[in-house]
């Protein structure tokens, strides 16, 4: 009888320690979907860049005249909004199940620590576009995104750390292959998200 109570105490201690320091409701499925959106986005961007060569325009048919840069930014923004939106909805659903509040101390800390490297990187990339250093934009986005993941991983599921490290490595490799940024993007934001999202999904979502 007594030992059952002690066992409960131990599991309560473990539960409180992890819940107070890590946000564990992060949805793995939203990672998979974010990867799918990124692959679709990369494909569309490839079309736009391809149109540039053939002279025909893919999005222009629907949206009227837009510069290539504007089209690419539109695609990128759509991917980010879709991915973030899906992430919030699915994480909200998962947090309801596990009884964790979606906007509490641990999730705020997670978002803040994720955003610091990400916003810095985003501004840095805008500055590079401004200065016409287009070649290094793709590597920089991957590296900064990876750093953001590593920084945030201290406050959430462990898989995020490996997603971050892989993205940093990929970003560094891509600095040697300027002009192939889109392919590295597709791998970094697409394939890696699907891979680590699936890992998280099978490890945590279905329990």
């Amino acid at each position: 009888m007594e030992s059952k109570k002690y066992l409960e105490d131990i599991s309560e201690i473990k539960n409180m320690m992890s819940r107070s320091s890590r946000f564990i409701s992060l949805s793995g499925l939203s990672g998979i979907l974010a990867g799918v959106y990124a692959l679709i986005g990369a494909f569309m961007a490839y079309q736009v860049l391809g149109d540039l060569r053939t002279g025909q325009n893919f999005i222009e048919r629907y949206t009227g005249a837009m510069s290539v840069l504007e089209q690419l930014l539109l695609i990128a923004a759509s991917v980010i909004i879709l991915a973030a939106g899906t992430g919030i909805i699915l994480t909200h659903r998962k947090s309801k199940k596990s009884g964790e509040k979606i906007w509490d101390v641990s999730s705020k800390r997670l978002v803040l620590n994720f955003l610091i490297p990400l916003v810095a990187g985003g501004l840095f990339c805008l500055a590079m576009i401004q200065q016409s250093h287009f070649g290094l934009v793709a590597p920089a986005t991957l590296i900064f995104y990876g750093l953001a993941c590593v920084n945030a991983s201290k406050y959430t599921l462990g898989a995020v750390r490996y997603l971050g490290i892989t993205n940093i490595i990929l970003g560094l490799i891509s600095t040697q292959f300027i002009g192939y940024g889109l392919y590295f993007w597709a791998v970094g934001f697409g394939v890696l998200h699907i891979f680590y999202g699936a890992l998280m999904y099978f490890k945590h979502d279905r329990t």
């Binding site: 007594e2 030992s3 002690y6 066992l7 105490d9 131990i10 309560e12 201690i13 473990k14 539960n15 409180m16 320690m17 819940r19 107070s20 320091s21 509040k101 509490d104 101390v105």
Partner: protein
């Protein structure tokens, strides 16, 4: 018998156990964070933090954030050591049976 003696009465309650667990892995936690995590009422939590404070296991720091009063708690060295001993005792008791 000696292991039983290591079971600390001060931690023999779900709320107090929770408070100490949170403070072991966080440098500090404020009142509302503890309340949310433990699902306790104001009065309930206040009485348990007071009990732990009396044992000198946690320290209390009252301050103002803007105009709002904010109370934050941290585990003392004594409290951390006592809690570690308590966990060890629990684990040994489970392992024995």
């Amino acid at each position: 018998m000696s292991i039983i003696n290591n079971i600390n009465k001060a931690f023999d309650h779900r709320i107090r156990l929770g408070i100490m667990s949170v403070l072991m892995v966080n440098d500090y936690a404020d009142f509302n964070m503890l309340k949310e995590l433990l699902g306790a009422t104001d009065g309930n939590l206040a009485s348990h933090t007071k009990a732990l404070e009396k044992e000198a296991y946690i320290s209390v720091e009252k301050q103002f954030i803007g105009r709002k009063p904010n109370t934050r708690y941290a585990a003392t060295k004594l409290g951390k050591a006592a809690f570690k001993k308590h966990i060890d005792a629990l684990e040994k008791l489970i392992g024995k049976n």
